[in-house]
Amino acid sequence: MTRNEFLSMLADELKKNRITDIDDIVSEYEQHFAFKMADGFSEEEIAAKLGKPDVLASQFESAGEVRKRGGRKAATIMGLCIVDIFAGAFFILLMAWEVIMAVFSLCNAVIAVCLFSGISPWSLIPTIPSWPGIVFGLSLASLSVLSAAGCIYFAAFIRQLMRSYSRFHQNTIAAASGSALLPSLAINPRLPAKTNRRIRSVALISLAMFTAFFVLGMIISMIMSGTLEFWHAWGWFGY
């Protein structure tokens, strides 16, 4: 291969690989030829020692050269935008569920306080003797704690899911533009073992208390009203 053949093949291959600044690269190889020829080597010898132009051109690509605009990167970003729309909707759904759980927990707490104190704001709490009222209040307070624990864990889960997704996002763009990747993140929240244990025991205890007090409340109500369907006896639903 002569000098000109080598240089034009190299330029073609670089163009094929969408490498920018081809002239600058080719001029380095021109200089290499100039130096070697001054030392008395033939064009063929120099070209052979340089290596194959296509192999060299591919090394420029793997060396993290930025591809020209409109290449793989643009397609990747467009694809990511579509994925983002779905993922975004999904995250809104998850956060809505988080809000529902928080409101549920808060409502239970408020009703429990009303039952303890015997206050019935705007007569919303149906008539109930104070004894079973307190037992039902304890049951609802436990349910409130249970759903609060659920809320905390779920919030940690959403947070981790979003972090993991944004890492995926970063890495996809980085891969398309040829820069270094960061390690991917797991979806499960990595809470400290102590926190994990605490949440679990709070959830279990509150679940057990909710069930126990609920059943106890039902039994006391049935005994006090003298009927299985005590809600009819106390006229809860107006009939």
Binding site: I25, Q31, H32, L56, F60, S62, A63
Partner: protein
């Protein structure tokens, strides 16, 4: 030897040469191919990558009786990176040697 395998080490060799003094591309290519068996052209993609990563900078200098030459010089980032990677490589090579020597002992 596998080219991908050599490439990371070649980067380190280029940095070590440039730590001593600024060089132009051909000088670096000659220096490397004197010591290591690689195609002469391989060094230019490496120089370009290192420049892109900000480890090297270039400047043109007139030479008597010839076109201006493009000199490569180590940046501060390049110097720091070199020191760090040099230490890492030496440590790594030492461990690999222990493992490979171990292999010979096992066979005996």
């Amino acid at each position: 030897m596998n080219i991908q395998y050599k490439k990371g080490v070649l980067e380190l060799c280029v940095l070590s040469l440039l730590k001593k003094r600024d060089c132009y591309g051909y000088e670096i290519s000659e220096y490397l191919s004197d010591h290591i068996d690689i195609a002469d052209g391989t060094v230019y993609p490496i120089l370009r990558k290192l420049k892109k990563e900000g480890l090297l900078s270039t400047y043109m200098q007139e030479e008597s009786g010839g076109p201006p030459r493009k000199y490569y010089s180590l940046t501060n980032l390049g110097r720091e990176t070199y020191e760090k990677e040099r230490a890492e490589y030496l440590y790594f090579a030492e461990k690999v040697e222990i493992l490979l020597e171990d292999d010979v002992n096992d066979k005996e």
